[in-house]
Amino acid sequence: TVGCVVVDGEGRCAAATSTGGLMNKMAGRIGDSPIIGSGTYACEVCAVSCTGEGEAIIRGTLARDVAALMEYKGVSLQEAVDYVIKERLDEGKAGLIAVSSAGDVTYGFNCNGMFTGYATEDGFMHVGIWE
């Protein structure tokens, strides 16, 4: 699965996710990636793209929960991401990337590793797998 989240210079957030699904999956199986609110979500406050065990991400409505925590509880992007990764995945293994309209960027995962990268306007760029 691949994904991208962006907040532009005007504070507009957007998210996109694309996948081939699981190797040896049943024909007709649908995962979390195309399900708005589960694998992908964007609103006025943040944008989120998920990857991993799709069925667990769907059950946890992972992407929308990040936004809901920020909207209703007023927590920061990092706090929202940490919470859903820890509390919303049951035994599922997954990860996500997220940006906020304020220009924050973060990621989180509870599995061995995740291919991630991020960059910001002030020149910071990071690409990693394990950390």
Partner: protein
């Protein structure tokens, strides 16, 4: 706060993934970040940047999307994608796409040029042809590496998540079902029924 961009290429990476493969993945992510950063410096809107970057990821076979997608048990590719524009709360999604070269752009068209949010299988394919998007044979998406991985998955009688073989430590209940032969002996598509239970 200024602009920011993040990309991912999948979770659940096998710790034994060869260093060369890890480096290949990092190079692609770096390239995509640079493409996205350049677009943002040019004042492209966020929704256009996410589409641009995901198209790049779909076109390169390194990750599980577009060319390089995981295979179904039948050895075919069925892709899915979605996109969402935050300020307008508009979204588009597609599933079961088999010939569209860049599924994320079809999802964008569902959002921009249809009254719907989500099209699947033959409906999505019909819409793609109506919109004149680039289509290719299903074989285009299939790589030698994935043919090998499908063979491996079938021999192990299991499904595979991105870049890993399901083990109890990494894949939760579904993996436990595979390892324990769960499902009460019932199988669907050659796999223990309990593997599919979460669905």
């Amino acid at each position: 706060g200024g602009w920011a961009i993040a990309v991912h290429g999948g979770a659940g990476v096998d710790p034994n993934l060869p260093l060369e493969r890890q480096e290949q993945a990092k190079q692609l992510l770096t390239r995509c970040l640079l493409i996205g950063a350049e677009a943002l410096r040019s004042n492209l809107a966020a929704i256009d940047v996410v589409e641009l970057v995901v198209r790049e990821l779909e076109t390169d076979p390194v990750f599980n999307s577009g060319r390089g997608s995981a295979l179904t048990s039948k050895g075919t590719v069925e892709m899915e994608a979605s996109i969402m524009d935050g300020p307008r709360r508009r979204c588009g999604a597609v599933s079961g796409v088999t010939t569209v070269k860049n599924p994320v752009s079809l999802a964008r068209l569902v959002m921009d040029r249809s009254p719907h949010s989500y099209l699947a299988f033959h409906g999505a394919e019909d819409f793609a042809r109506q919109q004149g998007v680039e289509v290719v044979d299903n074989d285009y998406f299939i790589t030698e590496e994935n043919i090998g991985m499908l063979k491996q998955a079938k021999e192990a009688n299991t499904i595979m998540f991105d870049y890993r073989i399901p083990l109890t430590a990494t894949c939760g209940t579904a993996a436990a079902a595979v390892e324990g032969g769960g499902g009460g002996g019932l199988c669907m598509n050659g796999l223990p029924l309990s593997v599919y239970a979460p669905e």
